[in-house]
């Protein structure tokens, strides 16, 4: 079987003159990208990075990042991409969980953090853009040979990406994906949405999440064009789709909400989007009123899907089907089987709510260094997703929520416990609870309720300041309320859902 890197090089050879990736004003052809991937591969090998190593990378959306993903595949090393804006403690925790040995980062990142002492990088440090102390400079790779280095040991079963389930202060679960995992996932989506070499595929979410990685890999296996949006605003998305004549994309539903509002506000400007052939909404179901108005605005086919980082896409639904199956997230993809489990792990009858469990050939490889936790996530060969829902008698899945409480803001999962753990460290706080508050713009935002110790004072500003220093941007509370006590049931368990109404 060919590896992901083999397939990319084959495509690059066949379509050398065609544009492979567009990002901002930059364009790179397949021939140039293959040369860059080889040069980066040779540069990493030359500087002591060897087969099986793990490289931490605060990743942004750029052609350089795309080339590094394929270079890592080419030499059998794993990338651990992280959000560059994570608080320091969360980065340390992510890098420790993935046994990161080397680091590739922008000079800005390196100058902000004491890499050797605090991030505990034992191996090589490479600056992406400008010289920094004694780090290597990635630009020197342009002096390297353009010949593809060969290593017969590479089978495709090497871990290529280790991605964190949460960028939180809590212990992250590092999901390991091999080259073959990524390859199979790309092929499954190519089949599902009929993507071809003629498609221009837009990735408008961060490359440190698997959705954007998939959207970049898909066209590069086919000879299509990958369009990468570095920073998302609805105006930039619309402009990017129009300028690059994008034909296919998968967006998170919170982005589509914003795009809908933007198009509505600029109705008088007659913004016409003609190029889109098909668009997929992920992360949470799009409000049906918005969906029905947005589809004619974008003038394209429309799908929704359900999946998890561990299983990839499990179900899919076309908008015409969803008119008859309101609120369903669709039927399982080919090669996917779903069951619903009750609390005793018995299979539920149709229309009975329980935990969604999924058997799929797109399953991730493992949780890195956590074999027992991974093993415990299964019932037979079904991965227990931690989500709850039910199946109808025709096999359509209906998503009912998360087993664990989670706030989904702008498509990103926020675990309330991570926020509470941080806020409870403030001396004046007796207890706290983070909760979901509805938002037109982001779907949900983080709300925070605080109970103070008797006789103590604490201002909202002090809380905000503590959170800004210790939590990631997506974890920041948008609303803060001070209460005399938290709503609890007779067993003393927090009733988080009541908090939104007690503001």
């Amino acid at each position: 079987m060919k590896t992901l890197a083999d397939c990319f090089y084959d495509t690059a050879f066949e379509h050398a003159e065609r544009i492979a990736v567009c990002c901002d004003d930059e364009r790179i052809t397949y021939g140039q990208l293959a040369d860059l991937v080889s040069q980066y591969s040779n540069f990493l090998l030359e500087n002591g990075i060897v087969y099986g190593d793990r490289i931490g990378i605060p990743m942004n959306n750029s052609i350089l990042s795309v080339a590094l993903i394929f270079a890592a595949a080419n030499i059998g090393v794993a990338l651990v991409p992280i959000n560059p804006t994570l608080p320091f403690e969360a980065m340390v925790s992510a890098f420790e969980a993935a046994d990161v040995k080397h680091l590739i980062a922008r000079e800005h990142f390196l100058s902000q953090h004491d890499v050797n002492n605090h991030l505990n990088i034992q191996g090589v440090v490479i600056s992406m853009d400008a010289p920094y102390k004694d780090s290597y400079l990635l630009q020197e790779a342009h002096e390297m040979s353009k010949d593809r280095p060969s290593n017969e040991k590479i089978s495709g079963e090497e871990v290529l990406i280790i991605t964190m389930t949460s960028g939180s202060t809590g212990k992250p679960k590092p999901i390991a994906l091999t080259q073959n995992n990524k390859y199979r996932r790309a092929l499954a989506h190519i089949r599902l949405y009929g993507i071809t070499s003629q498609d221009k595929v837009l990735a408008a979410t961060p490359l440190y999440h698997s959705l954007a990685e998939r959207l970049v890999i898909i066209p590069l296996l086919l000879g299509g064009t990958s369009v990468l949006l570095p920073r998302f605003t609805s105006a930039l998305w619309v402009e990017c789709v129009k300028t690059n004549q994008v034909t296919f994309s998968i967006a998170v539903s919170a982005q589509l909400n914003q795009i809908y509002n933007y198009l509505l506000q600029h109705d008088d400007k007659h913004i016409e989007i003609q190029s889109l052939r098909s668009l997929v909404s992920s992360s949470a179901l799009l409000d049906s009123t918005i969906k029905n108005k947005l589809i004619p605005m974008l003038n394209c086919d429309f799908h929704e899907m359900y999946g998890t980082s561990e299983t990839s896409t499990a179900t899919s639904i076309h908008f015409k089907e969803s008119m008859h199956k309101k609120k369903s997230v669709g039927k399982p993809l080919s090669g996917v089987s779903l069951i619903i489990l009750d609390e005793h792990e018995n299979e539920c009858e149709p229309y009975t709510i329980g935990e969604i469990a999924c058997s799929t050939e797109l399953l991730c490889h493992s949780y890195y260094n956590m074999p027992q936790t991974f093993e415990e996530s299964f019932f037979k060969n079904y991965f227990k997703t931690g989500d709850v829902g039910y199946l109808d008698d025709e096999g359509y899945l209906y998503f009912a929520g998360r087993k664990k409480e989670v706030i989904i803001t702008g498509g990103i999962n926020v675990y309330p416990q991570d926020i509470e753990e941080c806020v409870n460290r403030v001396d004046a706080v007796s207890e706290s609870a983070a909760f979901s508050s509805p938002s037109m713009r982001l779907g949900e935002v983080v709300g925070l309720a605080i109970v103070l110790k008797e006789g103590r004072e604490l201002s909202e500003k002090e809380v905000r300041s503590h959170c800004a220093k210790n939590l990631a941007d997506f974890q920041q509370p948008h609303e803060i309320v001070f209460l005399n006590d938290l709503p609890k049931n007779s067993m003393g368990k927090l009733v988080r859902s009541e908090l939104a109404t007690r503001k």
Binding site: H108, P230, R231, T409, G410, C467, A468, D473, H478
Partner: protein, 81 residues
Amino acid sequence: MMKVSDYILKALQKEYSINSSTNLDEFNYVENGYVDSLGMIQFIVELEDEFNISFSDEEISSSEFQIVGSLIKMVERKINQ
């Protein structure tokens, strides 16, 4: 304390560099996605903490707040008050 313009430019470029040919006096960092809806709260709070100032809701929602050049002036004005 860091110079206001240096601090703001560093904070805006956590993920992406701003092109050196950009006219910062007129550059709208929100419209150009350098701070998004998720990052705005943290950006404001860190700015307030660094310079020991505070912004009113009106100031935050003003168009002046979104332009690099005028934000720098706004912060400098507050420090000198």
